[in-house]
Symmetry: C2
Subunit: 448 residues, 2 copies
Amino acid sequence: MSERLVRSSRRAGPRPDPGVVHIGLLGCGTVGGEVLRLLREHADLITHRTGRRLEVAKVAVARRDKPRRVPVPPDRLVDDGWAVVQDEGVDVVVEVMGGVEPAYTYIRRALALGRPVVTANKRLLGTHGPELLRLADTSGVGLYFEAAVGGAIPLIKPLRESLAADRIHAITGILNGTTNYILTRMSEEGWTFEHALAAAQEHGFAEADPDEDLDGHDAAAKLAILATVAFHAPVTAEQVYRDGIAAIGPREIAYARQLGYAVKLLAIAAERDGGLDCRVHPTLLPLTHPLATIRDERNAVLVTGAATGPILFSGPGAGGTPTAVVVLGDIIEAADGRGSGAWPVRDSTFLARPVLPIGDLVVPSCLFLEVVDRPGVFAKVAAVFGEEMVSLASIVQKSRGETADVVLMTHEAPDGAVQRVVSRLRAMDVVAAVGPVLRVQEQEPRPG
Amino acid sequence: MSERLVRSSRRAGPRPDPGVVHIGLLGCGTVGGEVLRLLREHADLITHRTGRRLEVAKVAVARRDKPRRVPVPPDRLVDDGWAVVQDEGVDVVVEVMGGVEPAYTYIRRALALGRPVVTANKRLLGTHGPELLRLADTSGVGLYFEAAVGGAIPLIKPLRESLAADRIHAITGILNGTTNYILTRMSEEGWTFEHALAAAQEHGFAEADPDEDLDGHDAAAKLAILATVAFHAPVTAEQVYRDGIAAIGPREIAYARQLGYAVKLLAIAAERDGGLDCRVHPTLLPLTHPLATIRDERNAVLVTGAATGPILFSGPGAGGTPTAVVVLGDIIEAADGRGSGAWPVRDSTFLARPVLPIGDLVVPSCLFLEVVDRPGVFAKVAAVFGEEMVSLASIVQKSRGETADVVLMTHEAPDGAVQRVVSRLRAMDVVAAVGPVLRVQEQEPRPG
């Protein structure tokens, strides 16, 4: 990897204006383009508010000759990220390229050089967040990432700053817009999964390859970032238990509604038995739960602190423009923090709080079965629950001719026991199909 | 007023530990007591997060001999606020005494002396906020007031920092817990106003003298603070149009619900025709509006920005413990900002954005009349609307024997014209009573 030292051309001239903040942009896609547009359209407002002018000094892109919606002066376009990271004239490095590499290498270098970094990169922080926070701290510079979780919804700063003196018990959120849109449409319109996914792609908020969203990877990365900040513990995405929504259809959602529940892909990080419970999975929420009413592609996060009780944040969880606004908010702060070493809350001094295995979690679950509709079958099914010490709270059975739908709600039970039940049911001749297992979130988690 | 110079006793000994932040507390009531309790109970957590110890150096109280739930070492208790404000050993002045004076004089002095100030005082900031922000700016110190609006809900920092680069179109909120509790109970249980108020007082969140809440003064002060920050314009509470909930009963709420609306005491600050629209009044909200579902004493604020669209914040809007947590968050930040002069957003450089008169506002309104139930009466009533050029959208009439209830919904009309209609109706023999006029908020205000 080339680490040529790139000298700022500005250094050759007179001293730069101290009222100007020079931004080095890594990447110029949807978010980067909107950063440039807002910088221009809101220039007076920003200067008025901050007393400074924000100026883009360099923009690193993969292809300099690509046509751009928001034009960049050709002399500021470079095709090498190092030209941004190592430029001494750059006051704040802004990474909006996405993906783990080369963003990871660039940001490490920028922090080591003492340059504050603003990033919107959830995948990178979900993977290397704790390490980068440590590096920022030892380097005495700021690493700002409000835009990495929840789009324009302020979450990171409230957790890091306003609520820093509280002990957070739980973070519960809808962190992925695509899956929430799909679940909403299946619930409200009875659409099939495929129809809802196609509509999400048509609206432009589901990727052409939506697997990151559907299998919970996207939400897990965001949850890891929130958990790291909220619990002062180094949590990475791979430690988050993950289950996607692909097995859920309008039928399961309709049964859940009959029982008084909405189905949401919930991201939960909570204190449990001296450790942390971190998981992303489709969840049954009482219809009156504040997160049950979050519709379509909106995101929402419920923060439950010992002193504050539940606080709800909701808004647009993605989109170039909302994300760009909070990137700019971070740039303004990074520019002011520079040199002062101000770092109100040190996320790097992590507590040892292990992420606990899902098998030990004790929750109610809801199982959807299709069984052969003949006498004695239900007794066989029920016996499996009994043998695994999982007790049943309610049962709905509906004949469909040859087979019957059976919806079983358990009392609180260890997740591992429920998983053993599922394995045994799958192996039974009289069970035609085992649908998704939906854990139930009756209320906000309290400390274990 | 005495301005004796009080020397810190600590100055006589060795240099203080730079890792210790010395807090001077003005007032030790509900919030102050909780600040002390959380400082003790969360001491390790705070030190771990910030690398500093927060220590209470002095506490000024009205009566030193009063018994206290959270004990204070007698040598730190003083009965003179100046002993806190002028103590050179105090790093952060924390004002939780409430009321305009003497808090105003103390805070001005502290800022002039270059000491950062944290305050939870909505009345003071609603009255003198813009002036104090200017003074903080010219003195180069921070004035922190997250706790002054919305209890533990982070609002000020998100508006000042994360969303600083956006152009905010509107702030719409439920900012008073007592009135929201009363309206919720009248709506859900059919309680009378008096019953609901008594229950609120029993629960401890309505004051013995609840007028500040009921007449909208409390919400107006909070709205002025939010508007000042969001619109970068100096707004004070006296500029906010204000109408309370005393005229509303379960009957009006039931009629509103029939029409598809909830009744909420809404605080609205919005861009309109080059100026600002700032008002607190009972409002009809569609039942599907995100603020319509905020129940009981909870507060909520919807921030609508040009780039971000609507973002909702909701949580406990008051209470000693939630408020104390964000006071501590501000203290942590104030301690770090000290000396650096860091002031990311300058609220002091206000824009000239006049608060516009309510009479020019164009909204739909809902009127509740009691009229004599005989032929020709309705024609007379309708004629008044016609003559004032206010057109009617819907009419509900219900006979009650001698009289009839009439609920009239207007199309959009200038507020001044609706007020003229009301005056004329009140003077008519055939109109037995004119109930509250409820303005309608169909959706989030957009720029005018």
